[in-house]
Amino acid sequence: MHERGKVLVYILLITGAIWMLLPFFWMVSTSLKTQDEALKFPPDILPKKMLISNYLEAFRQVDFSRYFLNTIIMTIGTTLLVFLTSSLAAYAFARLSFPGRDLIFMVFLAMMMVPMPVYLVPSYVILSKLRWIDTFFALIVPWSANVFSIFLLKQHFQTIPQELFDAARIDGLNDLQILTRVVLPLSKAVLITVGIFQVVTNWNSFLWPLIVTHSNSMRTIQTGLSYFAQAESTNFPLLCAASTFTTMPLIVLYLLAQRQIMESYSRSGLKE
């Protein structure tokens, strides 16, 4: 009875794993087929010859290298600014006292609860008044402060023992020096969480870049892929090749830093 139960557990787990992997397998397999092969019905599980020509063709047809570059600029820009704004603000909320501190923090938290679609339209209006539509400013600046990162860092800063701060003060350090020389070196794990969260969110963000950029040269990897999917709506080998190389960087990152990513996301409880 016990043995039979165990077999059932494995059958279920393996079925689940196949169901999770099948779309990835099918994406890669299709990306290596010719279009004629892909249109065969019922389909062959594997391509007869592994073709990489779809990958080259996708890069040739639309400017994916530009989209990659744009996404990297957006990701690095947002992440660095979030590190800067969040650690400063978190330090102030956790360690400094000034009138209105708790009220401001409460308002920040309330802002975090409002889903993006609610402020999407007015954000567009504000960005067009600033003449930032279709620029990197529109992609980066509105996301350069992140309440959730402030919250995470503040929680962590509060756990650092008071004695360290007292000692640093006696040594004559000011608040900025305490933050950069004492607090941040002790916060690596949380900073990694914030960084991972920023990288994954930026790499996968879609609705925002779709709305605040128009021109081909400003497309990010996701809006570029979606544009390509509309232009080549039936050429699935090409589309699967593009899907493969746009997801690959994050999948590789995930396989390398699995533990940190899972922990970050369990801690954050936020996705997308």
Partner: protein
């Protein structure tokens, strides 16, 4: 000294405060204001009171999107949660290769929705898709998936002579395809969270129950589920909010977007269409306001409903 420390505090929060004031607070206030105006991309603004809101009540497309969103959320969230509890339970047993399964299950959570939408669109393809090939292989006739606007209940119950229409026809087959994709995408993340919750339950509880002669069914319902309820509650709220905000798969997978016959148009997609295709910015903000109220209200109801039953460890 005191004043100097105040100044440092304000200086430290200034960068974050500026960004959040201009790009969160201001747009949210503006969103409320805009919903009282006829606000196009060009032409004069015109104050129209509550007309944007009253228009919602007579807009059949709004009702349709609301109904679609209802079916979408009510199917995606519970199915995702039940599956994740099942799989987390399996992974919590002493099995070989647990970390490999975890890695695999979590994989969809780090892949972009645009890319997986492209792939699932291909999987669901009515003529060449692998899913219909599998259906044919096991002797079932292939379905039209994204080309089929007919409701699920309508299809299931029409042989019994019941002709269901509109909302009661249920989610269209196209929307069902979207639902399947979303469950696939969300379940891995939920499994990891539930698994963490399971591992927080002290082993003594299980031992004590076993000594008292409780069977595994009894243990599951009287120990696991009550002690897991804070985790389930948390996932229920966050997953519902995510589901209400779904946009990308509708935009990428359906053809024309939101179709066939508007049967996959979810609220946020409709908001997008009204604002960035038709440029009815004021009306779009009325829709945004409804979305906000639903999400907010849902969080409140769930809180009230669960507070009594949720066991806070």
């Amino acid at each position: 000294m005191r004043r100097k420390s105040n100044l440092t505090g304000y200086l430290f929060i200034l960068p974050a405060l500026l960004v959040i004031a201009v790009f969160r607070f201001l747009p949210i206030v503006q969103a409320i204001r805009m919903s009282f105006y006829r606000w196009g991309i060009a032409g004069p603004l015109q104050y129209i009171g509550l007309k944007n809101f009253s228009r919602l009540f007579i807009d059949p497309k709004f009702y349709q999107s609301l109904g679609n969103t209802f079916w979408y959320v009510i199917l995606v969230v519970p199915i995702t949660l039940v599956l994740s509890i099942l799989f987390a339970q399996l992974l919590n047993k002493s099995i070989k290769g647990r970390s490999i399964y975890r890695t695999i299950y979590y994989l969809p959570a780090v892949t972009s929705i645009v890319a997986i939408s492209v792939v699932w669109k291909w999987i669901f393809d009515a003529d060449r898709g692998i899913l219909n090939a599998i259906f044919n292989f096991i002797g079932i006739e292939g379905l039209k998936w994204f080309n089929d606007p007919r409701g699920l209940f309508e299809l299931l119950l029409s042989p019994a002579g019941l002709a269901l229409k509109g909302f009661f026809a249920g989610p269209s087959l196209a929307l069902c395809a979207l639902i399947i994709m979303s469950i696939w995408h969300n379940v891995g993340y939920c499994i990891i969270i539930v698994l963490a919750g399971l591992q927080n339950i002290p082993e003594q509880y299980y031992e004590a129950a076993r000594i008292d002669g409780a069977g595994s069914n009894k243990i599951f319902w009287s120990i696991t589920i009550p002690l897991l309820s804070p985790t389930i509650f948390f996932l229920f709220i966050t997953q519902s909010i995510i589901a209400f905000n779904t946009f990308t798969p509708v935009y990428v997978m359906t053809q024309p977007p939101g179709g066939p016959l508007g049967s996959t148009s979810l609220l946020i997609f409709y908001l997008y269409e009204q604002s960035f295709r038709l440029w009815n910015l004021g009306y779009a903000n009325a829709i945004a306001f409804v979305v906000f109220m639903i999400v907010f209200g849902l969080a409140q109801i769930q809180k009230k409903f669960f507070e009594k039953r949720v066991h806070y460890a």
